[in-house]
Subunit: 195 residues, 2 copies
């Protein structure tokens, strides 16, 4: 039988119900990581169903660093104003603002990065892979490009408050918790003197 | 002799010194509006001298409307961190954030409005002036374009807290008060669901 501490931990991390967490833990004989994997997969499936829903409501969040020299603005959307008022949603918005301030992402997702920046990056990586056999060079370049995306796309970044989760995971967990589609539409990050 | 109330009012509005305000009032026999004009002109001259100075310091300011559905982020620059900590500077930043939230400017100054938007506007105005003699049409179009700039460029807008001042006037007055060059570098304004 799954122990209460594991169930609680699993609920916190995934937002899934008690029964779902207990069943997942029982299915894998209490292996927390495996149970987490199962719940996450289910969550992704559930979230995917919600991802087509229109998110016209939401809130604008902000974070100004104590120095006053760094600030961010984030738009987080959901389906209803009822959810936007919710504490879980507000906390998520706060966390995303902190994330953007701390990690300096370039865009929400890959498609939002301007193509000329990708081309520049590719050139740099090609230069670095020079002299390698073509099939090796190709792998090196695509690997480096992948790392670049993971570092600069907000959704692919590791969550600063829980390194085991990406921001996409965090969204999916919150969609499961809240029961509505949630979307990060846009953000900006200003640092004094950078422009 | 200028009365104390007028001197105080003039100082508040321009940031100029007591002696300068008294002299200006005496010169125009106490006519407040004329004295204001004199001080403003002097302020512009002083400010112009400072406008070439590098503004690499400053603060990021924010304002979120109580609904949580509207937010702005503004970068206001000055020359030294000492001034950025100053109450007058901080109040100015707050005022500019409120201004941006309330009036929805498109850009800081004319040059920052993308040329395709200007072209679109011109087309609309040309359509509106259709059938008029060419020299009349030209005047109508340039007049309408000017109004468009005054409405959508932050620096040309009337200050929401004092309709007699533009934001540019407000900056000039603050440059005189503070004694350093001050610049609005950039801003963004997010409203939930607009994108």
């Amino acid at each position: 039988m799954a122990d209460t501490a594991s169930i609680t931990k699993l609920r916190e991390q995934t937002g899934a119900g008690i029964l779902e967490c207990r069943n997942a833990l029982d299915d894998v004989k209490g292996d927390f990581e495996k149970a987490l994997e199962i719940i996450k997969k289910k969550g992704v499936t559930k979230a995917a169903k919600k991802e087509q829903r229109v998110t016209a409501e939401g809130r604008i969040g902000t974070y100004i660093h104590t120095t006053g020299k760094l600030g961010v603005l984030v738009e987080l959307n959901c389906e209803t104003d009822f959810v936007a008022k919710n504490e879980v949603f507000q906390q998520l918005l706060k966390d995303i603002c902190m994330q953007v301030a701390a990690t300096k992402p370039m865009a929400v997702k890959r498609e939002d990065i301007p193509s000329h920046i990708i081309e520049e990056q590719k050139k740099v990586f090609m230069e670095e892979a020079k002299g390698k056999p073509p099939h090796v060079a190709e792998k090196i370049i695509s690997g480096k490009l992948d790392s670049f995306y993971k570092e600069r796309c907000l959704l692919e970044q590791h969550f600063i408050k829980d390194n085991a989760q990406t921001i996409q995971d965090l969204l999916v967990a919150n969609i499961a918790k809240i029961g509505e589609n949630i979307k990060i539409s846009r953000f900006v990050r200003f640092e004094v003197g950078e422009c």
